[in-house]
């Protein structure tokens, strides 16, 4: 009975490790592209050539309505996606961690109030709110990152809180209290290291959702018009007739890039999630 079950488990982990590896390789490629965009891109993305060219040797993915090289735009767009994604996730995870740890560890009034706040933030429809914000404020890339970060911490906070509730009752936390450590010390050395495996996949998923949101907002025309982002590219292709004239080289590549980068981050997070389950069984 036991043999086949083990076999299944081991093949599952191996397969899973491969997925993580693929995610890691793709992700390093993405980071390298973003870092070396100036060297990798064949042209300056703002330089103007003859517009509406189809792909050729000089312009691998043709040019757009104002004659910018699509391939160079695409490479530079990686930066925007990564920065928005990670900026948002860093802010959101930081907020979620602090709120979750405080409410889970101290419980009582603090918990009630912070979880009430979380419920309120969970109810706010995020994308419509950002649309309204973008409409009133000057749409800029930092504003989008900030707004997304301030809205996306709720689920992290909840996950962190429930895990903290579990860890705080464990004997080693009680034992640390008995040794007279300060609360902050216990939170950061006893509780945090034991919940970090749930936070990392959550972080990666936040990165992915933030990237999609940035692309959606840009596509709706609420992105930062001074930046080359993938969502903006699709938006321009849509508005300036790329879709109608079937200029696939203009709108298809950014779409594929968005899907690809999101898949990459999710794969990374997925690998970690599995690891976490193994850790739980181990403990």
């Amino acid at each position: 009975m036991k043999q086949p079950q083990n076999k299944h488990q081991s093949s599952f982990t191996v397969e899973n490790r491969n997925w993580t590896r693929i995610g890691l390789i793709l992700f390093s490629l993405v980071v390298l592209t973003a870092l070396g965009a100036d060297i990798l891109a064949p042209h300056d993305p703002w330089q103007r050539f003859e517009p509406y060219q189809s792909p050729s040797r000089d312009h691998l993915l043709g040019t757009n309505d104002i004659g910018n090289d699509v391939f160079s735009e695409l490479i530079h767009g990686t930066r925007v996606s990564l920065i928005v994604g990670f900026g948002t996730a860093l802010l959101a995870t930081f907020l979620g961690l602090i709120i979750g740890l405080v409410s889970g560890y101290y419980r009582g009034i603090a918990d009630e109030m912070l979880m009430g706040l979380t419920d309120i933030f969970l109810m706010v429809p995020r994308i419509p709110l950002i649309i309204i914000l973008a409409a009133f404020l000057k749409p800029s890339f930092w504003m989008i990152t900030l707004a997304l970060g301030l809205l996306w911490w709720t689920s992290t906070a909840r996950v962190v809180r429930s895990k903290t509730l579990q860890i705080r009752e464990m004997s080693f936390v009680q034992s640390s209290k008995g040794l007279g450590f300060r609360d902050a010390h216990i939170i950061f050395t006893d509780v945090l290291p034991n919940i970090i495996q749930v936070v990392i996949p959550k972080f990666m998923i936040t990165v992915a959702t933030a990237m999609i949101s940035e692309a959606s907002l840009s596509f709706l025309g609420l992105g930062d018009p001074t930046l080359k982002s993938w969502g903006m590219m699709i938006n321009f292709a849509f508005v300036k007739g790329g879709f109608i004239n079937q200029m696939w080289w203009w709108y298809l590549p950014p779409g594929i890039c968005i899907a690809g980068i999101v898949l990459t981050t999710v794969l990374l997070g997925f690998g970690y999630e599995q690891k976490e389950e193994i850790g739980l069984r181990g403990i």
Binding site: S171, F172, S175, G178, L179, G180, F181, T189, N194, G282
Partner: protein, 312 residues
Amino acid sequence: MNPLAVENLRVDFQTRWGVIQAVDSVSFHLREGETLALVGETGCGKSVIAHAILRLLPQNARVTGQIFYENRNLLQLSEKELSQIRGRKISLVIQNPSLSLNPVYTVGHQLVEPLIVHQNEKRRQAFQTAIQLLARLRFREPEREVRMYPFQLSGGMSQRVLIGMSVALRPDILIADEPTKGLDDRLKQDILDELMLIKKMGNLSLFLITHDLNTARELSERTAVMYAGEIIEMGDTRGFFETPRHPYSKALLESLPGRGFQPIPGSSPSPVDLPVGCRFHPRCPHRRDVCSERKPDLVRDKERDVRCVLFS
């Protein structure tokens, strides 16, 4: 002077099923350098006393009475003042040794933590101290063992590491809550030897909580017996084991395998619904009418405190 004196301690827990009276009118003191054993059945409130001393009880606990340490009432200190005492002056070894170490750090890391946090020792120096400590606790290869993770240790080793952590700062008082629970006889003996060794190393007062009468007998100078949240008998260990006075103590000793193996009839009362009068009277072979009417006081008689009408 007595380093620790508990007076009239009472602990209630507010729960949705009513008020649970876990500990009632408990008074005792711990003399300098002595070992006081607190014995009693599971659930009689022993651990609650241990946690109450360091104020580690959950929020729904209501603690009244006085706990004096160096003439200061621990129940009235601020959280900050109390954290100066926890670990440095009074240390607690809690139950479940294998769960009491943080799974993500090595043993060494956890042993040096109190030294670094409370005594501002340098990490490297603290590691040396930790290795010496493990060596003194008769670990065979302390250099290797400090780099181990808790899952690599056996239950007995974890317990010894925990004891090591608790005494790293040379506290005046060590509270050991069931230090031998769940260990086999040989390991149990190791832990007891360890505790005696530690006592010899410093002038430490040990407050030993156990349900194992033999442990109490072997290690302590004085023994206190608890039943349903109250201390019912307290006195010199040798005298207590020779001539127990309270009917419960007698019955408890007679239930030991070497002393007749006689079970005590009935079962412990529920802490929500305690009997009026003497809490042992429904199970007592010597009960009188007065037992169900009035609670007897803890009366001192010939170097022994007994809570029973037979001795008042």
